[in-house]
Symmetry: C2
Subunit: 447 residues, 2 copies
């Protein structure tokens, strides 16, 4: 058991709220600050992408007994449903039978998490802007305006769970020897919506992650409990197929009719939503160190913001909490060691999931429409079912295992090299399930 401390968490998002629960369970006093109003009292912004909770996320929730409550607001998805113009719907299963990822509305989950943290005894300070942090004394500086008078709020420890544009990190960044990078994609995104049928049922298969892959742009749809789908259009900001090019109602409707004909019946508010909802940008942010002595630590997006194409932003943030909690059990009151081991353990994994997420845009938007890619997946699946000890597909290692992301990245590259050779086999489309191909894979794995 740890000596009770007074701990501030900046940010009441998913990671901030769950961390609050863990720290309360460990016996600490926990204050959570957020510049925004209580998310339970406001309408969502129309700029969110549904979450895809998977093994790592569930582990963090189950560890504190909250998994079942959250499963009630989650929609299982066992496959991708790939919509290609002029071709029948193609289903691509994510893992083995019974392996699902779970679609959850970010807003619904965040509201629930704040309530759970409050019930646990964490105290929330909404509409409270933290402008700066004095790291040596774990003191937050809050106030109405950046230039106005500030209140000082002294703690034993501060966690920055305040997202990709973290104010806490901003202070760390001014220190010497702080490595930092932020890189924006030229691709942005916009939220759209497929409403439920009048009887509350879903208009598309409700246990699928729907993708309309169109190479440099794509549309996705993820199911909600209420029969609707949250859709996201990913597209370059500028160029031939771009947000900039879709300037008016006519252009927009013609574009959707041409590239997403199967959606015209199911997205009734296309024009209104498209021009009302903001176009958001996508950033990869990396930094190091993540901690300052035993006083300040960054967690979640505040220290590793990634693009959403692997669906692992929240999962990675929740895993930060799992690892931190393990280290708290291991090192007790030695927070300096806890923080040091935490950042050393998490940094390579954060970098790995950043890389995997960045690469996955190509897989989602292009490869899923490609026959050779689909065959590759089929060969891998067959082999992996026959030799589960020898081959765990990359997606499964990332999503349905607790193996480190860094291991997934390295082994994934190794598997890709093997599959490149296998796919170069003459007549692979006919011989893909032949004993020779299997023998070749076994041989290549031996090397």
């Amino acid at each position: 058991m740890q000596t009770p401390l007074k701990i501030a968490i900046v940010g009441s998002g998913l990671v901030g709220s769950l961390l609050a629960i863990y720290l309360k369970r460990a016996g600490h006093t926990v204050h959570v600050y957020d510049r925004s109003p209580d998310i339970r009292t406001i309408k969502f912004s129309g700029r969110s992408i549904n979450l895809a909770m998977s093994h790592r996320g569930w582990r963090a929730l189950d560890e504190v007994g909250l998994g079942d409550q959250i499963r009630e607001i989650a929609m299982p998805m066992d496959k991708r449903a790939i919509h290609t113009v002029g071709q029948p719907l193609n289903y691509l299963y994510y893992g083995k039978d019974g392996e699902n990822i779970y679609s959850i509305s970010r807003g619904v989950l965040n509201r629930k998490m704040v309530s759970l943290a409050e019930a646990e005894g964490a105290e929330f300070f909404f509409n409270t802007r933290v402008w700066d942090v004095t790291m040596a004394t774990a003191t937050l500086h809050t106030g109405e305006t950046e230039q106005g008078t500030w209140d000082d709020r002294k703690y034993d420890m501060v966690f920055g769970a305040d997202g990709a544009f973290s104010r806490v990190r901003h202070r760390m960044q001014r220190q010497n020897m702080f490595n930092y990078s932020q890189e924006f994609l030229n691709t942005g995104y916009k939220e759209l919506n497929i409403p439920a049928n009048p009887d509350g049922s879903h208009k598309l298969d409700k246990n699928s992650f729907h993708i309309w892959p169109r190479r440099d742009f794509m549309l996705i749809a993820m199911p909600n409990l209420d029969g609707s789908f949250t859709c996201t259009l990913f597209m370059p900001f500028e160029g031939e197929h771009s947000f900039e090019a879709l300037k008016d109602k006519e252009t927009l409707e013609a574009f959707f009719a041409k590239y997403f004909p199967s959606t015209t019946d199911v997205i009734p508010n296309l024009v209104e939503d498209f021009f009302k909802n903001p176009t958001s940008s996508l950033v990869t942010m990396k930094c190091y160190p993540w901690t300052y002595e035993d006083k300040v630590a960054l967690i979640g997006d505040a220290c590793h913001a990634i693009v959403p194409f692997y669906g692992h932003g929240m999962n990675a943030g929740f895993e930060d909490i799992t690892i931190l909690n393990q280290l708290m059990g291991q090192y007790g009151d030695d927070w300096k060691t806890i923080f040091e081991e935490y950042q050393k353990s998490r940094k390579p994994n954060a970098d790995a999931i950043a890389e995997l997420s960045y690469r996955n845009f190509m897989e989602m938007s292009s490869d899923t429409a490609d026959a050779s890619f689909l065959l590759r997946k089929k060969i891998e699946k067959r082999f992996s079912e026959k030799y589960p000890d020898k081959w765990l597909p990359l997606y499964s290692r990332v999503t349905f295992s607790f193996r480190p992301y860094s291991e997934a990245l390295a082994l994934g590259d190794h598997q890709k090299a093997i599959m490149d050779e296998v796919m170069a086999t003459e007549g692979i489309f006919e011989r893909w399930d032949s004993p020779e191909v299997e023998a070749k894979m076994l041989e290549l794995l031996q090397k």
Copy 2:
């Protein structure tokens, strides 16, 4: 001729001062702000590395007729003098006969540049902190403290020439879609000094850039006009050979006696200077965009801070001014196009010199002590003298030419691949100047 504007430059360093001169010549009103006191009124900090002015730097000065005045305070260096323990001094010439780089004290040059800019009619505001910039209106916000009352100073245009930790960039960085990275080396540096002889002469060859390469650390010395040398010790912060390890007088003296025996007679104030002067860090900073509409532009270290191992930080910053000035001539009052073309033209070159500078630490600290490296240079030099149209060595292309840095990086990689093959020739140490080796290089160049 351009329509006269009211322009603010933040930063009175080398790039800020020279830019002020160029903008005055173009007919503008120029105000230069600096948070520090007038450099002409204070002692230098003991944390600077001498500058190595080369072709690009001289071009920017000569263009406004200042080259000759600066040449008076510069020491030509035509070679590296390599100090290896137990071996005679080895000279490695930089370029062709008459090609020199020029050692200049940063402080001496900066004082001179400020005076020249003032004589040109630029107005300087020292001890004035710019806390923020409103980009849309090119307004500087200055004041005593960040939280105190600010004055607004409105201009037509603002240049951020305020270095690696630029406050102007800091504002741009908060914009959406601003790419940014800062990465620190684990190697730091410290200034030391070799004083002049009593008669004012130099204790070491005065036309050499002196290097004591010791693999993971190195000492360099660059001559000053007054007979002294400014030395810089580059060494990891932590580890076996590190600043951290040199904790006291005894350890320091034993370390220098072992690794730099030839310096014991010439650095009399080693102990005092070592513990008095700060240990500074080295950062590579990249960002994009560099400009905001026709209102704000970054220049020099503020948009491309590099490590000092190619001696090109100032040269690259001065070349920014050359290019900007060319574009001013080309596009007149169309500052939006000037800024757009400026950043598009300079960004790939800034990235290239950043990469070359980063790589050059290895060359300076390790390779210059390596026989195979020295032979490689000898073969290149011989071939380049015989076939000047076919082979310009990388160092010469970077330092003694105006070819784009990006071209130097790309061609340098190509040349390296050729030299790798040449060096793999059997008996190359004996046959290096044979017709066969020459034929091989010609053949490899054909490919």
